[in-house]
């Protein structure tokens, strides 16, 4: 126990550094006790796959990876993956370009979590013989690989990738990715031109400003003004184009907003300066126009970047699609066809370990499918003939035939992808609020501006134009409009860095207000890998024999418990025949001539002891009962303590039996636990809490929690595959560390504070500046300075969020 507590302390301080109890490579619990000497020291590993990957990295002299990385690596599956399909001519012809000296292909890799992964992949691939060039991008998860087919095959190059724990997939949405990159580059160019142009324009403007005593000869002054005009023009019209077109759009819809005000002020400053330049008036304001465009472009770029990080993750869903499908012709012949050629009504064949190409109905025989990507459920799910199976799930154990019912965009997988994308294109509700405020502000301001102009025109016509311009520039609510997006962009960036992905746009605000956290036990607080703790026998039955029989029955079932039994028994297991798995009940088979049943009490013993144990019996009598235990995640207790410190009430709602739930709750320190909960009753618990005015954050892990996740005020899904598929989830933990949850909540609260400070500051600034401007006490250049300072203040305040220290 003491050792566990110290582990948790270590995890609390730095969850990324492997502790003695966790795998050196992937950071998961190293329960199997694989120990290897890697580099100079001995490390523990969770499995042979991770050990081999670490060994490979050390041998290749890439051990710096462990120093550079900011996230743990993927668990490496020791099972060999058949990469033969990558060498097929039809695949290469369709997706690999011919380049000088070889071919080039763009791949997606899952598990690329930080820049160090990209660094490792770069180095590892480049060192392969026959690989011409390799470059990996951690942001998009894409790898560009050029190789010489005469020297190596693609599958050989990819095997090294697989050995390191990254599974390659064909990049499907290349057109979309290209579009996204071009869009981003266009923004960068606009910002770059605006920045350089604004700098130059400011220099000329400075020369003009410094001439306070008007000693500069008029030709020099006009020369400098025309030069400023020359530099400012591309900034206003090229860089500022998004604002100009946005303003046009807003005006056409008769809903003046931010863009109208921005474009209006910019154009007014620019055109007024041009008029003054031509007629030789006393002032020009080109600098105000260009600085304005530059600052706002930078703010927009930040906002877009924050959402871009999330959208790169959507590709994980696109990845699940296989590139080729096998179709059975009418005469029983099988042919390999491109996925797009598969039609509704076709019979498709899926080999064991392959990905189901389309939604369909299972034919012939029962089989098991791994639906981790769609539901987050890591255990394979048994399906009977006639059941529907979904594209993107992985067929386990046996090859199957299926009749296709939906293809392409109609599949559930594509719909989920579309849902996630739609959620991402929403603008956060808070930002919309700021926009609404701004819209009213714009109308009010234009009225004040008109009144000011009339007033000054009546009293002092010479200054009317200047004062009105100063009013428009000084009051431009750019601090107001920057305050929310800048804070959100900074917060999303910080969240992504700690491994929390924000899927729903306005969830941050709700997360900050959460008062209660409800955990779903399975796979959330526990690691989802149950172990067999103990056995009780009846009627003097031999305990060891019970273990051996159970191990024999389980061995061929592929059930997750199989390894637990096998580890206990070792090589002394009996052999079983006629083993048959009955879905939802257990396993039945013949061991040493006797018929045995292993599973639920009713199934194995005919009784109705409804508990969570596994019973061994002959169908009527109970012989033994195995006690199952779930191990809590290493950081579960620390997480609960941290959430408690944040003042959150915590609840545990589990579908399991009361005893293990109570045990787990006591272990991690949650006082309110309820067992035997159905999704409906979990939802009722949440509704009840909400009824009492609590704001509930639900932490869950799969589609079975969908109603509860949707019903809660804010939901956090554990495990990347689950959450992306989980349309109800607001946040996704990309890593496995539960401690990210309290960190994310603390960050969300800080974000709310910063947004409030920013809004307060922006409003106070405007309340102060507008009367001064109306009174004519503010010249346009002071107005531009004040506007810039106030924008910079809110941005700097928002940037405080990127510092991860509390």
């Amino acid at each position: 126990m003491a050792a566990r507590v110290s582990d948790m302390d270590a995890l609390l301080h730095d969850a990324r550094r492997p502790t003695p109890a966790t795998c050196y490579h992937c950071g998961e619990a190293a329960v199997t006790g694989v120990q290897r000497v890697v580099g100079q020291s001995t490390h523990a590993f969770c499995c042979e796959g991770c050990a081999a990957a670490a060994q490979w990295i050390a041998d290749a002299d890439l051990g710096d990876y462990y120093r550079l990385r900011s996230q743990n690596a993927n668990r490496v599956d020791p099972a060999a993956l058949d990469l033969g399909a990558w060498d097929r001519d039809d695949l290469l012809d369709g997706h690999a370009r011919v380049v000088d000296g070889g071919r080039e292909i763009t791949l997606l890799a899952d598990g690329m979590r930080c820049a160090a992964c990209a660094w490792l992949i770069d180095r590892a691939l480049t060192r392969q013989a026959g690989v011409l060039e390799a470059s990996a991008n951690a942001v998009t998860g894409r790898i560009r690989l050029a190789w010489d087919p005469a020297k190596t095959s693609l599958s050989r190059a990819l095997r090294c990738l697989v050995a390191l724990g990254y599974r390659p997939y064909l990049a499907t949405g290349t057109a979309q990715e290209d579009r996204r990159r071009r869009e981003r580059n266009r923004w960068l160019l606009r910002v770059g031109v605006a920045g350089l142009g604004a700098m130059q324009a400011m220099m000329f403007a400075e020369a003009l400003y410094l001439d306070t005593t008007h000693q500069m000869p008029l030709p020099t002054r006009d020369f400098l003004r025309w030069m400023t005009f020359l530099v400012a023009t591309p900034v206003v019209f090229y860089s500022g184009w998004p604002f100009l077109s946005g303003a046009w759009h807003e005006l056409r819809q008769r809903r003046p907003g931010m863009d109208t005000l921005i474009a209006g002020s910019t154009l007014l400053a620019y055109l007024a300066s041009l008029v003054e330049t031509v007629r030789g008036g006393p002032h020009v304001w080109y600098d105000a126009a260009v600085m304005f465009v530059f600052l706002l472009l930078v703010a927009r770029l930040f906002e877009q970047r924050a959402r871009g990080i999330a959208s790169a993750q959507v590709d994980a869903l696109a990845r699940a699609r296989p590139t080729l499908a096998t179709r059975e012709c009418d005469d029983g012949r099988r042919e390999s066809i491109a996925l797009s050629a598969l039609g509704v009504g076709d019979i498709a064949c899926v080999a064991a370990g392959e990905i189901v190409p389309a939604d369909g109905v299972l034919l012939d025989a029962p089989a098991r499918f791994e639906e981790a990507l769609l539901t987050g459920e890591s255990q394979p799910i048994g399906k009977a003939p006639g059941d529907s199976i979904l594209a993107g799930t992985v067929c386990r154990d046996t090859p199957v035939r299926m009749r296709v019912t939906e293809t392409g965009a109609a599949t559930r997988l594509s719909q989920l992808t579309a849902l996630v994308e739609r959620a991402q294109s929403h603008r956060p509700r808070l930002a919309l609020l700021a926009d609404r405020v701004a819209s009213r502000f714009v109308v009010g301001l234009l009225l004040i501006a008109a009144a000011t102009w009339l007033g000054w025109h009546w009293m002092q016509p010479a200054r009317a134009f200047e004062v009105t311009l100063a009013l428009l520039v000084v009051s431009c609510p750019c601090a107001l409009s920057l305050s929310v997006p800048a804070a959100l962009a900074a917060a999303h960036g910080a969240l992504a860095r700690i491994g929390v992905l924000s899927v729903q746009p306005d969830a941050l605000e709700r997360l900050a207000r959460a008062t209660d956290v409800v955990f779903d036990k399975t796979g959330t607080l526990s690691n989802g890998r149950p172990t067999v703790a103990d056995v009780d026998t009846f009627d003097g039955f031999d305990g060891d024999l019970a273990w051996r029989i159970a191990a024999a029955l389980e061995r061929d079932s592929g059930h997750p418990l199989a390894s637990a039994f096998a580890a206990r028994v070792g090589t002394a297991a009996c052999s079983a025949s006629d083993v048959k798995t009955i879905a939802g009940a257990g396993v039945r088979g013949r061991v040493d001539g006797n018929k045995w049943y292993l599973g639920h009490a009713r199934f194995a013993t005919g009784g109705d002891d409804d508990d969570d144990g596994i019973w061994l019996g002959d169908g009527t009598r109970a012989m033994a009962r195995f006690e199952l235990r779930e191990t809590p995640r290493a950081d579960a207790a620390a997480t609960v303590a941290a959430l408690h410190a944040l003042g959150l009430r915590q609840h545990l709602c589990s579908g399991d039996a009361p005893a293990p739930v109570a045990r787990l709750a006591a272990h991690v320190g949650i006082s309110e636990a309820s067992a035997r909960q159905t999704p409906e009753s979990k939802l009722a618990v949440v509704r009840d809490l909400q009824h009492h005015g609590r704001i509930v954050a639900m932490v869950g892990d799969g589609i079975n929690d969908a109603p509860v996740l949707a019903g809660a005020d804010v939901s956090i899904a554990v495990g990347a595959g689950a959450a992306l598929a989980q349309r109800a989830a607001d946040f996704v933990l990309t890593g496995d560390a539960l401690l990210r949850i309290p960190e994310a909540i603390a960050l969300a609260r800080r974000t709310q504070r910063v947004i409030k400070q920013n809004l307060g500051w922006a409003i106070a600034y405007n309340l102060l500046a507008v009367p001064l401007a109306v009174a004519g006490l503010v010249t346009p250049w002071i107005a531009a300075l004040g506007m810039a300072v106030s924008s910079l203040t809110v941005t700097a305040n928002a940037l405080r969020l990127t510092r991860t220290a509390p």
């Binding site: 041998d59 002299d61 160019l189 350089l196 020369f223 530099v231």
Partner: protein, 57 residues
């Protein structure tokens, strides 16, 4: 003040060069990934890959 007639066009020329260089860098993908190359500087120069254990698999 006649020197301005030379210096100002030179500054504009330099501005043009800077913008051209920036456009070139963006088009060549220099800004596509800002995180990975940052790690290179933290790592010592490449050693020759050790001859032992060339992985055949």
């Amino acid at each position: 003040m006649n020197i301005l007639l030379l210096l100002v066009p030179i500054s504009l020329l330099l501005l043009g060069v800077a913008i051209w260089a920036f456009v070139w860098a963006v088009r060549r993908g220099q800004f596509d990934d800002l995180d990975t190359p940052a790690l290179d500087i933290l790592v010592d120069d490449e050693h020759d890959p050790p001859p032992a254990r060339r992985h055949a698999d």
